[in-house]
Subunit: 449 residues, 4 copies
């Protein structure tokens, strides 16, 4: 075989997504399509359409999994219409059912609902894995809740937090994503006719509106959809697609933020991602231990994020009751975004779980920074003693920004500051400057449970 002489998508070869790859496989898509035809026939029959026989339905059920890709391909190139090709291929297997397959249906009974089912199944997996990521973060948060470390604003040392508290902060963002995934509206179009008016259906049921509703209710129930489309054109509104991809995008944004922060902390030598025993950091610089997994995750997150506007531009450019400029792009975007997100989640969980902290280095840095950290306490005590907040701030500013490395001696050189420090026995112990970091870690832990 010579597959290697053709382009291969890295989504297959480099960034495995064990579960979603199956969901978005040709086999699963075609089985899902056929199942929609089966349920349609079953429910139509139950609602009194007598042209649909039990035998026809049984035939459809029996042949659901017999997929002849060459035949489908043949019909598609002949008719240049994929649903018609699928009907013919399925019909050839089911001579009795052939007459009634797709009765009262339109292509988007199949296309839209199949997409919705695959999306629903995918979101379930993504949700579960996002929760796993969240748990890995809060576990670290609790484990390191009490270890002081420098917080950075403007990438410059600021006041203290604890290592765990930083994980708690990250967790809060992922918690928003968990919540978004739970509340996502996955639309079920059901069977609505060519332009959404249910005209054919109504005629099929001899004008009985109730049966139209019953049929759509039953189908939605079977598949477990909560968001049922009331009014639409030929397809469900592509506004839903915007929302779904947006939720994946924002999840990847949160993960990017975390992985990017880890890269910055690696640059400060505070943390390392797991590094294999035989792993080579650079083909030329043997000493290198680079945060390549974090970098890779950032790279892939960027990709998923930037697909969002493909969907929004597709939505706004849907003309009137539908145009087909949605189809090709959805075929690319949906599987790519879902599969990459599964890979991103799997990889991020591994990164978080195996992180290594350079504890000595962190401790030393904190110690050297204490002379700055105590400023806020000095200001507070100064105000208590009746000094003006602005004046104390200015005194400290002048002292502490004079050189690049300030010392305790510098502080004492100002008599007011010296007085405050002495009078109030200002502490130099980092643990006295972490505020409510530990409580905050516990609070997040509680949110997650």
């Amino acid at each position: 075989m010579n597959m290697t002489s053709e382009f291969q998508s890295v989504i297959n070869t480099r960034y495995p997504s064990p579960i979603l790859s199956k969901i978005w496989s040709p086999d699963n898509r075609i089985r899902t399509m056929r199942q929609l035809w089966i349920y349609l026939a079953l429910e139509q029959q139950a609602l009194g359409i007598t042209t649909i026989t039990k035998e026809a339905i049984q035939e459809l059920i029996d042949h659901r999994d017999m997929i002849d890709y060459d035949k489908i391909q043949y019909y598609e190139s002949r008719f240049n219409h994929d649903i018609i090709a699928h009907i013919h291929a399925y019909g050839d297997l089911c001579p009795n059912a052939k007459k009634i397959i797709h009765l009262g249906a339109t292509s988007n009974y199949i296309n839209d609902n199949t997409d919705s089912i695959l999306i629903k199944d995918s979101i379930a997996i993504i949700s579960k894995k996002t929760e796993l990521l969240l748990r890995s973060l809060t576990q670290k948060s609790m484990e390191y809740a009490k270890i002081p470390t420098i917080a950075y604003t403007h990438l410059q040392p600021a006041q203290l937090i604890t290592i765990g508290r930083r994980f708690a902060m990250w967790s809060e963002d992922i918690l928003m994503d968990v919540c978004n995934l739970e509340n996502i509206r996955i639309p079920f179009r059901g069977i609505k006719g060519t332009v959404g008016t249910e005209d054919t259906l109504l005629k099929l049921f001899k004008g009985d509106s109730t049966k139209c509703n019953l049929l759509n209710d039953r189908l939605a129930e079977i598949y477990g959809f909560k968001t049922r489309i009331a009014v639409c054109g030929q397809t469900y509104s592509r506004k839903y697609d915007v929302e779904i991809i947006h939720v994946l995008s924002t999840l990847c944004q949160s993960i990017y933020k975390i992985m990017n922060d880890l890269r910055l902390l690696s640059g400060k030598m505070e943390v390392y991602e797991y590094f294999g025993k035989e792993q080579v950091g650079s083909s030329a610089m043997p000493y290198k231990k680079n945060p390549i997994t974090c970098e890779k995750v950032c790279s892939l997150c960027r990709y998923v994020m930037n697909q969002e506007q493909n969907m929004s531009q597709t939505y706004i450019n849907q003309w009137l009751e539908r145009t087909l400029d949605d189809s090709s792009i959805k075929r690319i975007i949906y599987p790519e975004c879902f599969l990459l997100t599964e890979y991103i989640l799997d990889t991020s969980i591994l990164v978080i779980t195996h992180l290594l902290f350079n504890m000595e280095h962190i401790e030393l840095q904190v110690k050297n920074h204490m002379v700055n950290v105590i400023s806020e306490e000095i200001i507070l005590k100064g105000v208590e003693m009746g000094y003006c907040r602005l004046d104390i701030h200015e005194k400290l500013r002048t002292i502490l920004t004079l050189t690049n490395h300030s010392s305790y001696e510098h502080l004492l050189s100002d008599s007011t500051i010296a007085e405050i420090i002495t009078r109030h026995h200002i502490s130099f112990d980092p643990i006295d400057y972490i505020g409510r970091s530990i409580q905050q870690c516990e609070m997040v832990q509680k949110h997650v449970e």
Copy 2:
């Protein structure tokens, strides 16, 4: 004065937003900032901080609205720090309070909370106006619920809907936006300290955690915020900003879709936007009546939509506890997106309310298209008579795609089709082909109420 010799933002000069322009004015921002200092002092005092006197607070209250822009400007250029400049300017007005303004606070007690308050007030206006837009759509939907018109898929004539039904379809999208606006999470950071640990606050309250919570509870209550930040860095997570701008973006997407559809329908001569008596359509082609308002709205919607990624890129590139690459871009994006959205809403409501339909033309088009419209009914009846669905479809396809204008005679040329039509007295009345359009209009009307 020579203002016209400098660039003027079109957001001021061309696209008026009567309410939001006031909310995002310098006056309102500074008053909001000062009010935050006042409430902080009041609540701190209530929680036992005795250095804050009643006199100081009264002084702050009395001078809240006295804004000396030149002085603020002077301090800002001197200190190169805007909050410090505002404290000095306010402090100069309140010599007694000067000592305690900003006590226990950080710049983002002021910056972030001010933004949140302006955002909350803006979202309230946008919500209200979006509901107005929705009502104008559903009103048209009910008014034209029963008038058949051609639905277009691929911009080609498809089956029938009613004019009202198309408004119902558009309404469903705006309904999603109304719902998004209601559920939006507007974060209140409260007072959390430099890096989010509440360290200073805790020290101010001599280690009493309960008071930290009480203070934040009170402030959130005063301003009516539902989403309170539990854990954060120097600012609330910029993930919230992504969400807020996303909601504006998706609203503008829906409006774009509607206005774009109206432009297409104008191209089909079915509808015209309101045209003034003296209005000139073209400086060279005097006969022109162009849908320029719809075009303008689309143009502005595009702008708002594309700001979304400014926010997502800002969020993901916030390093660790915060970097300042959020500040300038938020200063541009927030007012621009809000003000333009108000203008877009105001203008869209006018467009919808004053639409003119070319009823004769619509009726004629429907009539000419009936020969095609009846195909679905023929297929259904054919299947009832025992014919294969695929066969009838193919017969019709062959006949109806042969020429560019098919006629009734073409249909009757096939004996099977002729048999079906005759046997079942297939109707040619458009009203028999609008399916559940009227019920769907009513359903949407109900959703909205």
Copy 3:
């Protein structure tokens, strides 16, 4: 085999790109990498590096095409570094050369230069096919140079052009793309060392700068690169990637514009894309002939366009001498954009070549519109007769916008207008209102040659 149980990229299955799929195949990539090692060794030897023997080089040449994917895979999972894995796999085949493979090189001698070579080969193909598209447009332009048709501004009838003139207009945009493709800067990094200083190379050549230059000159010459990198970090500047993807993006933008215009003209029944004899337009509406190929091309163009910012964001976030967040995204973007662009070009050429015009309909529309078209001529003649331009314009505006369908009688109802028309024998023949359309078609034809 059960490949169908896994996700398959539509770029392989649906949107074939016959030539570029080979260029971006694993086989071609690995052969290209190995060829770079071979040329490096050859040229180093030629410049006096005696540790590199003829035998070693011959061994490398002899085994270039023997690719054992399993072994590469094994080494990659062991070392977690792909270049190191490739060196080992190649080295295993060449025991004598193993010692010196990659001598003085870094990973980006291989990675960057391989990418550049694949890009260069791809751009050559894309250029050629873009020229073919241009030719198909200008051919139509000349064929229909003289047939009057309505021009549309605001999607409303405006003055006349000719059918061919519209093709000429489209051609001008594609001509810009042809020019962009020609002038594109494809960077050749050559061999520059880990951080771009050529330190290792300089040491290898015992401090002889001239030899560094000679080596890089020779390599660039062998591969035919015009843009040689002078100064860089670990990689060539990712600014070049922004430029390359931008050129593909803008090409797809031009094609989108054309295909979108064809969809609009189909909606006006003026033109049809080719429709197969057995082709089915809709599974429910047998009469449908939809411009699905144009829609598909628009959909895919949108995708390529929106990848552009993946590159710009990757460039600006490259930290200092390089970070690895470029790698994964480039692996996805480059082949996807190139392969889809080849498919887009192939498909567009087919669409253009097989377009069908509805000549009768076009002619009728033009005829009905003549009453409006003559306005400009009336204005001109009026001014000649001493009337004010603004006054004549206003008279015509009042008459022609009064009803939806204006007639000649309407015009004559105004005595001034009637006077102008009569006095100057204003023509009603469309051919008198196409201006320099024919000359313009000829001009574009000339540009292309």
Copy 4:
């Protein structure tokens, strides 16, 4: 006056652009429009249009600068067409010329050409300032050409470069921008009629094609345009706008990359941006010296970058001969992008010129890193001695990644490595490891000249 009670654009209040603000002012726009009418009349007269008198032209010239904004406003709200409003307002000032203003012209003779003129003037300024930025970079490059510093890949210490060499690398990117600005195609539409066929013009010149060309040639010459539009619709192709904004975007991308790198180097304490004597870094942390100017520039660059797709989406959605969804967005994008880019350039030049290096710290870091830096030299010498490149690399990798801080002793613990070091007197002097850094600085300096 109560301007502060309305929204004020920060582009006026915070981010001054001294030159471009004037170019994009209402005064300059209107003067430019009127000048176009003047030149048109002059050249038409020169080509024999006798209805245009010298007196009329003189009247136009005399009143060019008398702008009555209220009157324009009045006409605009009356006719809802801005060019018609301007003609009336100008015409009121010039009773004799009123008859012939705009003769043979269309709105886009005024709109498009005015935009093109403002764009051309703006690009000239941006070019000049980009060259100034480049010079400030190369000056630093030469000044620090010889000072070794650590290069960072993956934000981890890599081999050495010199401080100047990093400036040289940045310069190369800006050099590409300088080149892009020089080659930018700014289109001159000239006078082409309503739909681009020059029909009116041709009639005006009684069918004399040569005069059409002469008129357009003269106008292009007067304004100094090199890119003349041959064939277009109602406007020049919006593809040009995509290109122009792209060039601004890529310039801002390069500047973002540089400023972002400076922020990272500040985080490594290697460099500081200029900090005012009284400047306050934080209202709560008096010790802070943050790179706020670099952060601000990054923020604004992000904004400009992200406007690019506003233009590309506008271009591709221009329907047929033109739709008006280009107008509003261009009114916002063009001035905003140009004015912000001027501010970004001015600010970046200041940042670069006033940078402060922490030389001691840089030197110390380099010294501590030398044990790693010498690895490449050890590999090279090892290969010379007959060792396998891969083996030496592996030995070094094992030693140097064992602990977080490797020492010379670690290296000597391996006998092979020890042998290589001793035998070849491997140098520990940083200057021996900067490769061709100095030459590269000189090369870039030369490119710039």
